[in-house]
């Protein structure tokens, strides 16, 4: 998760299974890891109620990551890892039992939170691709490490192309090197894409997921729709299910097309100076406590990918009423691109940033 640059907070929900979720500060990326109880040697669902019930909390990504900092040394030294969620003490305890009888105990502070869920439905995506992680990992190495966005599309002869996204600067020829590569259909396990379709998304998060997918030797499925709709990367085995949802750049030319099912988002703009230090974290905690206590309604929101919300279909309206949300709006760097094309400039929301990380929703999807 953090390799994808998503390092703001981490979210876990206990019974009936452990799920780790995170969204980046500009909410252009959402990741979820769902572990089946069988993933663990032992999985116990807490003590008597209310502890038995579904429990959600968020932990600073940096802290959580600190526990597992060096993977090679973890593999060498750690024999057993014990994770305890102690709601009463507001602590997430991670205990590592290492070689030579050494025990490392990390007591991580957390805050309870509401459900964090991006709205996406892979079934409704018009295009999907599935490939061994290695194929995709070998493809992205050709792009410079600093490259922000990449465009996935179809090429001549049914080939799949990846190309670095270059911002058009008022018709001026760009000084940026453009790299493009083509993958033959038979390098994929399945290819079901709309001819001529293309999407642009952040490479960094994708690289992060690829690293994980490659290490776990799982094929990766990419579901996408029209430009501006989120792209969903999934991988799964018997005990683990992973989703990464990324915002895609909307295509100015096709922005008039009617909205489809995915990623309708009603969010306030992210605060300008969001930082993930403790201070802002604490402030955010207070804010959300206040919001809960005073029953302040959800903050004013912007329709992100729907320039004509009135035209949205009834199904979508339903979803909105359920109060679900974070689709995958823009990454900070994306923002000008996104909001520039979709929102009126200079229309920030007065709402506190953190609040949207915890929208209510009825049930787990």
């Amino acid at each position: 998760m953090a390799e994808g640059g998503v390092r703001q907070c981490q979210h876990c929900a206990v019974p009936p299974q452990l799920s780790l979720r995170t969204v980046n500060s500009s909410r252009s990326a959402f990741a979820s890891f769902l572990f089946a109880p069988l993933f663990f040697q032992l999985y116990e669902a807490g003590g008597p109620p209310p502890d038995r019930e579904l429990f959600r909390c968020k932990v600073l990504m940096k802290s959580f990551l600190g526990v597992f900092r060096s993977l090679p040394s973890l593999e060498k030294t750690v024999g057993k890892c014990l994770i305890l969620l102690k709601p009463r003490a507001s602590r997430l305890v991670v205990q590592l039992h290492c070689k030579y009888g050494v025990t490392k105990t990390h007591n991580l502070a957390f805050q309870e939170c509401e459900r964090l869920q991006a709205i996406f439905d892979t079934q409704r995506c018009t295009s999907s691709l599935c490939a061994p992680a290695r194929v995709l990992a070998e493809a992205v190495v050709h792009f410079p490490p600093t490259l922000a966005e990449v465009t996935l599309g179809t090429g001549p002869g049914g080939k799949i192309s990846l190309r670095n996204y270059v911002e058009d600067e008022a018709g001026e020829p760009s000084k940026t090197m453009v790299t493009e590569l083509w993958l033959a259909k038979d390098e994929f396990e399945t290819v079901a894409i709309t001819p001529g379709s293309h999407i642009t998304f952040c490479l960094k998060e994708f690289r992060g997921l690829l690293t994980f997918a490659e290490a776990s030797n799982l094929p990766l499925t990419i579901h996408y729709d029209a430009p501006g709709r989120p792209v969903i990367f999934t991988l799964a085995d018997a005990v683990l299910e992973v989703h990464l949802v990324l915002a895609t750049l909307s295509d100015p030319e096709s922005s008039l097309q009617p909205p489809t099912a995915n990623g309708v988002s009603h969010l306030p703009t992210p605060s300008e100076d969001f930082t993930d230090d403790l201070e802002s974290y604490m402030i955010a905690m207070e804010t959300s406590a206040y919001e809960e206590g005073s029953g302040v309604p959800p903050s004013p929101t912007f329709p992100l990918c729907t320039p004509h919300p009135a035209e949205s279909d009834p199904e979508e309206e339903e979803e909105e009423e359920e109060g679900a949300v974070p689709g995958t709006p823009p990454h900070k760097k994306f923002r000008s691109l996104f909001f520039g094309s979709v929102l009126t400039p200079g229309g920030p929301s007065p709402a506190p940033t953190q609040e949207v990380l915890a929208e209510d929703s009825e049930e787990e999807s």
């Binding site: 600073l60 060096s70 009888g101 050494v102 490392k104 105990t105 990390h106």
Partner: protein, 272 residues
């Protein structure tokens, strides 16, 4: 004979430079030479002192004309000079060193030679500093543990630097030896049982919990990285001594020692 109050030769300059790097957390160091060898001392914030000891036997030739010779020198410059031919030369080659000092007011002269190439350095010296006296003697030691450095390296590399202090608990009872940090992320404890294979010696007479500024202890990681064993001792006032045993490429043993004052403003509230 020679006009030098200090003259020393060393077949492999790296034996000196790697030890000096283990105490290099400030630009300036005080060098103190007696017939027994050379001690290089670095201090910071009147709270921490690091000493690298290079016994006379490590040198092929070590001559001191006075009872003791002391001068202050820029350690960064000295290290750049000692490693002028690189920090890792090809196997089978090494940098030979001759080091001379004429006395107060004179520069320290270094003659380095590798593969027929000669480098001559003149490093200006300064008036020595008044050094801290920790008065840490083995008779006052309350608790003492000797650990294999392997067991501590990772712990120090991964210290939560958002914690202001490193808390060290040494006790005849559980948790025996515990390192704790209290950072933004919450607290973390690292427990070493007394019967661990990492533990070479365990002499703890009373339960002591002391805190040390983590920023002051962090530089000792450099010494830890080179060492094979570390001795951790505390006295009744909570002063800490970390002694690192370092074996060089030729199998010779040298020591680097760090002394640290306990952090005075302990707030009991955070104990857990």
């Amino acid at each position: 004979g020679e006009p030098y109050v200090l003259a020393a030769s060393l077949d492999n300059a790296r034996h000196l430079s790697s030890l000096l790097r283990a105490v290099h957390f400030q630009d300036h160091a005080t060098c103190f030479a007696t017939a027994n060898g050379l001690r290089v001392t670095v201090e910071d914030a009147k709270c921490i002192q690091a000493n690298a000891f290079i016994q006379a036997e490590i040198f092929q030739d070590f001559a001191v004309q006075e009872e003791s010779v002391t001068f202050r020198i820029n350690l960064s410059v000295l290290l750049d000079c000692l490693t002028i031919f690189g920090t890792s030369s090809l196997p089978g080659t090494s940098t030979a060193l001759r080091m001379c000092y004429r006395g107060y007011g004179y520069p320290l002269m270094l003659f380095l030679e590798e593969g027929g190439v000669v480098t001559v350095c003149k490093i200006n010296t300064q008036e020595p500093d008044q050094l801290l006296d920790f008065d840490f003697c083995s008779t006052k030691v309350v608790n003492k543990i000797i650990l294999q450095s392997d067991g501590l390296r990772e712990a120090f590399a991964e210290l939560d630097m958002t914690s202001e202090v490193l808390q060290i608990t040494m006790s005849p009872d559980k948790p025996y030896f515990r390192l704790s940090t209290f950072g933004n992320a919450g607290s973390a404890h690292l427990d070493y049982p007394r019967d661990s294979d990492l533990m070479e010696t365990f002499h703890c007479n009373q339960t002591q919990t002391n805190r040390y500024k983590i920023s002051l202890l962090k530089p000792s990681t450099k010494a830890l990285a080179l060492s094979c064993k570390v001795s951790i001792r505390t006295d009744a006032q909570g002063f800490l001594s970390l002694q690192y045993m370092i074996r060089n490429e030729d199998g010779q043993i040298c020591f680097v020692e760090y002394y640290c004052c306990p952090d005075e403003d302990i707030t009991e509230a955070e104990f857990m």
